[in-house]
Amino acid sequence: MSGASQLSADAVAASSSLPPLLAEAERAAASIWGVHGRRSAGNGETFWQYRHAQPGDSLGSIDWRRSGRSDELFVRETEWETAQSVFLWPDSSASMQFQSKNVRTTKARRAAVLALATAVLLERGDERFALMREDAGRIMQGRTGVDRLATALSFEAGEQPESGTPPEVSYTAGARGLFISDFFGDMDALGAALSKAIARRVRGVMLQVVDPVEEAFPYSGRVLFESIGGGMRYDADRAESLREAYQKRLSERRDALREMARTAGWHFAIHRTDTPVTPALMMIYQTLQSKKVSG
């Protein structure tokens, strides 16, 4: 296939898959109303306005350069910002591609929708976001940023590892993070990634997306379990006898994750793909918005 036609095929693929994802995200974001940009002075990085100094302002807050041009004292105010940037990591590894029989979406897509919807909400507040990928990590902003994010999420990355860990990116200090994954991977790698974030004062949300089947474990008889990527196998002679042990292990892992998040000052939550998006999105947004994030 020639370059041009490849390009056009990609374009068609992009335009056909972009709207559904974005539309789904927009729809999810639309249900959360009344949250938008602060448009008021506050603790932030960006210049907001100069105002006359008033009694009570500390000397340190007076902008001397501005004040020197006139006879009055001015204070330089920055815009109030919740987080300077939000780093989004929707896991798209192989295990996230799972979708059980009665569920309408894969875990990966649900993660992408949540990440994109979060971005849409952030864009409303003129806030910035970045997609955590090995090849990306650039901070995006505004409507174009949302579109670019949607495009990036719509393109399936090729070969995926069995389970994901947050890739290394250079966090902006004090930024926020949103990790969406099933967290079935290596706990140590996750802990390492988390400590890197904490080192840059990044706080945020760890959202575990699971399929209902992964909680219920409704198998019986002789079952050969295969991981989605095919790399792992488990031969169960009588699957029904494993259910209890599996559920116990799952809740142990969740406890471990919760504990990990708590010590890092992150918030840990669980989302099942057969439940609506909105509550999770609400939780994500409010958590990210609050000045202090904690588990």
């Binding site: 089947v213 002789r222 050969l224 379990f225 196998r233 031969d235 169960a236 002679d237 494993l242 042990a245």
Partner: protein, 932 residues
């Protein structure tokens, strides 16, 4: 080769594989069923989890069994199972192939040739030579056993025809007796009949000199013999060789027409009782019809034994007429001879002359009209003749009465051995001028009398008669009497013969009886009743006889070839043989010069005997039944089918069956739905054809000829639409097996030798079609057809395809036939080929219109079948762009194509309107109506 019952294995050592099955069982049991594969991200969590219990599911026993069966079948299949396996021939010496080749081999001749070819094929594989013995052809085939290669032997056998006489088994026996030869094994294709008790000895001899394999037919043939029933008339005896269950055979009496065809005139059923070897049939038909019957045949059997010729001996009694009347000066109507002659002329062979001459000529019946006294020698001769079975009929008259008066003995009554009763002298005169009584009527006939059932006419009066002396035997000897009880006809046996006396004259002076129709019937009864049994038995045939026509092995009478040999008369009374083949013979010189005599396959008192049980060490096979069948593919197919079931079962166990079940169901439904759909289609086609009046052509299965037939009828349809008011729809192919035939006015059947013979049901439906007014055009398409003689591939194919078809006797289209003028006026009917004849049902001869009235000729004389060889469809053929498809041969080709089309138009008109065009009866009425 291992054989178990009818099943054999070509590579039996592979059966050792069956020993592996128990191991396989054990292995299969140890292996748990295939797991369900599930994709599950939570594997990561499961990893390292020690399962609390490990009890693998066992494969269910029925699945195990199924798999064992599959494995077993596969092993059996590769051991090359054979049904009815043929042992390969021994390779250590020549093979003697003995074929009966006689008349009883003819019905299944093809099967015999196939069996012989099969044997020769095996001989070829075994690399041995063949010694061929054709028992019915001892004179033709070289006597010294010739050693042939299998290929040469096959060529000989292909050229072999069955003979119309029985095989001669004695010669081979005698030769083997003299020299056993070096053949180590024998295959004998016999016909299952023991002719002249030679079967057993030959079989024993053959088994003695080598390994013997006997191949015989499943059912033996039947044969027919003429046999007059008790009390005269025409009858037949059907013989069978095995005393089986009850069965019925139809014996058909045919006439022999001058043009060599034969026509069925009467049918008589012969019912075998259970266990009976023979069954009698009696033809219950008018005498004239009966006398026309020249050939007897068993329905549905075509071989020499199923045909029996009748010569004059069987048909007409020889009746001698002797008159003692005084000449009446040329007044014929006053002569009794005239009345008797008229009465007997048509039904008997009548001779007049002196008593000596008649006795010399072997008369069956001698009628004496008013003969009184005889010379002593003559009386003695006559009495001797009667006692040997002759029938003497005497009429009273003045002379007889006078003689009776002269010969009164001491008791006052006449005692003449040539009269059935003693006569009272004087006689009796009724209603005359000098008598008191009225002329007497004839009393109704007693049921014991041979005249029972005849009606005595009211107007027949007896004026004068001779009277019988009252006697204690008189009532039993009386066959007919007058209303006052006086005997009119009396009869008595003398030895094997009989004497019948009419107590009145044969002329109308003594009674009006000769003027009534009853007279003829009475004479007829007396003649047929009197001559019972075989009138010819014991008569030596002398002189030399040359064959006029011979019965072929297929039961058809054909002109004898020039080379046919003249034979001695003594051979005629015996069973037919190679020297004296069955047929119609004519005496050459001698006393009987010019006389015709039928020589039938079996002599008059013959029976058919089944072959005796074969020697113990002989191997018995049934002809055609033991066909070696390779079963490998069937075993493998079965194993494959079971394997599919196994796959389904495994899927079901693994919980993955849903889609598979749906697919299987769909497949089943598709198969199930196919048949009704087909039937539906056939019905739809029939409805369309009926509405359109389409012409039909028989689908022969030969693609090329079917295409031409369709195109031909299309061309004809176009011509019809252009030129006539008949507008048929597009022609339809007719499948004889399934399609409704009745909707086609005309069905064209282009004979193709590639077509398999239609089933019996299809033939029956074709018969029904023709009987109900359908028309069948048979076209052999090979340009020369002469029925009865000649043999072309097309004709052979036609014979094969139409065997069993109830075809009427055929004749070439006569001058003035409706077919020549039903639309166009035509002199000839060319197709792609010119010349040759077109055959239609032979027109009924004028003199038997009565037969026509009785319904022998159906369809108002419209021929239900037309047979030709001109390839009409080829001439008519037109493609859908209106172009002619096949070239016409010779000069004036296009002119002939035009004529062919005209013939087609005439034919369709004929099919639709029948004999309407020939119906001249209504012309005056039509003209009159036109005039008004």
């Amino acid at each position: 080769m291992i054989q178990i019952g009818a099943l054999g294995f070509a590579t039996p050592w592979l059966l050792l594989g069956l020993l592996v099955l128990p191991i396989l069982w054990w292995l299969l049991r140890a292996t748990p069923p295939a797991p369900v594969r599930e994709r599950f991200p939570g594997v990561a969590i499961l990893l390292g989890l020690e399962p609390p219990e490990k009890t693998p599911d066992r494969t269910p026993w029925w699945l195990l069994l199924l798999r064992m069966v599959i494995a077993g079948l596969a092993i059996l299949a590769f051991a090359q199972p054979l049904l009815n396996p043929r042992e390969s021939l021994r390779g250590d010496g020549p093979l003697r192939l003995v074929m009966d080749g006689g008349w009883a081999s003819a019905p299944d001749w093809d099967a015999r040739i196939a069996a012989a070819n099969d044997v020769l094929g095996r001989a070829e594989r075994a690399g041995i030579t063949v010694q061929l013995e054709i028992l019915a052809r001892e004179q033709e085939v070289a006597r010294e056993a010739e050693i042939l290669t299998a290929a040469d032997a096959r060529a000989r056998i292909e050229a072999l025809e069955p003979a119309a006489w029985p095989p001669n088994r004695f010669d081979l026996f005698a030769r083997l007796e003299a020299d056993a030869g070096d053949a180590t094994q024998t295959v004998w294709l016999h016909d299952g009949l023991d002719g002249e008790e030679q079967f057993g000895p030959l079989a024993a001899k053959l088994a003695e000199v080598g390994e013997l394999r006997m191949v015989g037919p499943e059912v033996t043939v039947r044969a027919v013999l003429p046999k007059p029933p008790e009390g005269g008339g025409l009858g037949a005896q059907v013989l069978r060789a095995s005393a089986g269950a009850e069965a019925t055979a139809q014996v058909i009496g045919y006439s022999a027409e001058d043009d060599g065809t034969r026509r069925a005139l009467a049918v008589a059923p012969a019912a075998f009782e259970a266990g009976a070897m023979s069954a009698d049939a009696v033809f219950d038909a008018p005498l004239e019809l009966r006398n026309r019957i020249a050939v007897l045949g068993i329905e549905g059997q075509n071989h020499a034994g199923a045909v029996s010729l009748l010569d004059d001996r069987w048909r007409r009694k020889r009746v001698g007429l002797v008159s003692g009347e005084r000449p009446e000066g040329g007044q014929r109507l006053l002569s009794g001879t005239h009345y008797v002659r008229n009465a007997l002329e048509t039904s008997t062979e009548l001779r007049e002359g002196a008593i000596d001459d008649l006795l010399e000529a072997n008369a069956d019946v001698i009628v004496l009209i008013d003969v009184g006294a005889f010379p002593d020698q003559e009386a003695a001769d006559l009495l001797a003749w009667v006692e040997e079975g002759g029938v003497l009929i005497r009429f009273a008259g003045p002379t007889l009465a006078a003689t009776a008066d002269e010969q009164r003995n001491s008791f006052g009554a006449v005692d003449d051995p040539l009269l059935p009763v003693r006569l009272r002298p004087g006689g009796r005169d009724l209603g005359g001028a000098m008598s008191w009584g009225e002329p007497q009527k004839i009393a109704s006939f007693s049921p014991d009398s041979p005249f029972a059932g005849l009606e005595a006419p009211e107007d027949a009066r007896i004026n004068k008669q001779v009277l019988a002396e009252p006697d204690i035997d008189l009532p039993t000897r009386t066959w007919a009497s007058l209303t006052d009880g006086a005997p009119l006809v009396t009869s008595d046996k003398r030895g094997d013969g009989r004497i019948v006396l009419f107590h009145t004259g044969a002329d109308p002076r003594w009674s009006t009886l000769p003027l009534s129709g009853l007279f003829i019937e009475l004479l007829d009864r007396v003649v047929t009743f009197g001559v019972g049994g075989d009138a010819q038995a014991g008569v030596e045939v002398t002189g030399f006889w040359s064959p006029l026509s011979l019965i072929g092995a297929d039961g058809v009478l054909r002109d004898a070839p020039e080379a046919a040999k003249t034979i001695e008369g003594a051979l005629l009374g015996k069973a037919a043989s190679e020297t004296a083949p069955p047929g119609l013979y004519q005496a050459v010189g001698g006393a009987e010069a010019g006389a015709l005599r039928a020589h039938n396959l079996l002599p008059a008192d013959a029976t058919l005997a089944a072959a005796p049980p074969p020697p113990e060490n002989a191997i018995i096979e049934t002809l055609g039944a033991r066909k070696e069948t390779e079963l490998k593919s069937w075993f493998l197919a079965l194993a494959l089918g079971l394997l599919m079931i196994d796959a389904l079962a495994a899927l079901a166990l693994a919980g993955k069956l849903r889609g598979a079940v749906a697919a299987a169901l769909v497949a089943c439904l598709a198969f199930g739905a196919a048949d009704p759909a087909l039937a539906d289609e056939a019905e739809k086609r029939a409805v369309r054809a009926a509405l359109d009046g389409s012409l039909g052509y028989v689908i022969t299965g030969d693609e090329k000829s079917d295409k031409i037939a369709a195109a031909g009828l299309y061309g004809l349809t176009r011509a019809l639409i252009e030129r006539t008011s008949v507008e048929p729809g597009d022609p339809k192919g007719v499948n004889l097996e399934t399609d409704e035939l009745a909707v086609y006015p005309l069905i064209y059947w282009g004979i193709s030798d590639k077509q398999p013979r239609p089933s019996d049901e299809a033939i029956a439906r074709l018969n029904e079609y023709m009987r109900r007014g359908g028309m069948l055009l048979l076209d052999t398409r090979d340009r020369n057809l002469a029925l009865g003689s000649g043999d072309t591939p097309g004709l052979r194919a036609m014979r094969r395809l139409t065997s069993g078809l109830d075809l009427p006797p055929l004749s070439p289209v006569p001058e003035g036939h409706v077919l020549r003028r039903s639309f166009f006026l035509l002199d000839e009917f060319p197709g792609r080929w010119d010349g040759g004849k077109v055959w239609v049902e032979a027109a009924p001869p004028e003199d038997i219109e009565k037969v026509a009235e009785e319904g022998a000729f159906k369809n108002d004389g419209v021929s239900p079948v037309m047979v030709g060889s001109h390839d009409w469809a080829g001439a008519w053929a037109m493609d859908d762009r209106g172009r002619r498809m096949l070239p016409m041969s010779g000069r004036n080709g296009e002119r002939r194509r035009e004529l062919a089309l005209r013939f087609g138009v005439n034919l369709v008109m004929y099919a639709y309107t029948g004999s309407y065009k020939s119906d001249q009866v209504h012309i005056p009425a039509l003209l009159q109506r036109l005039g008004q």
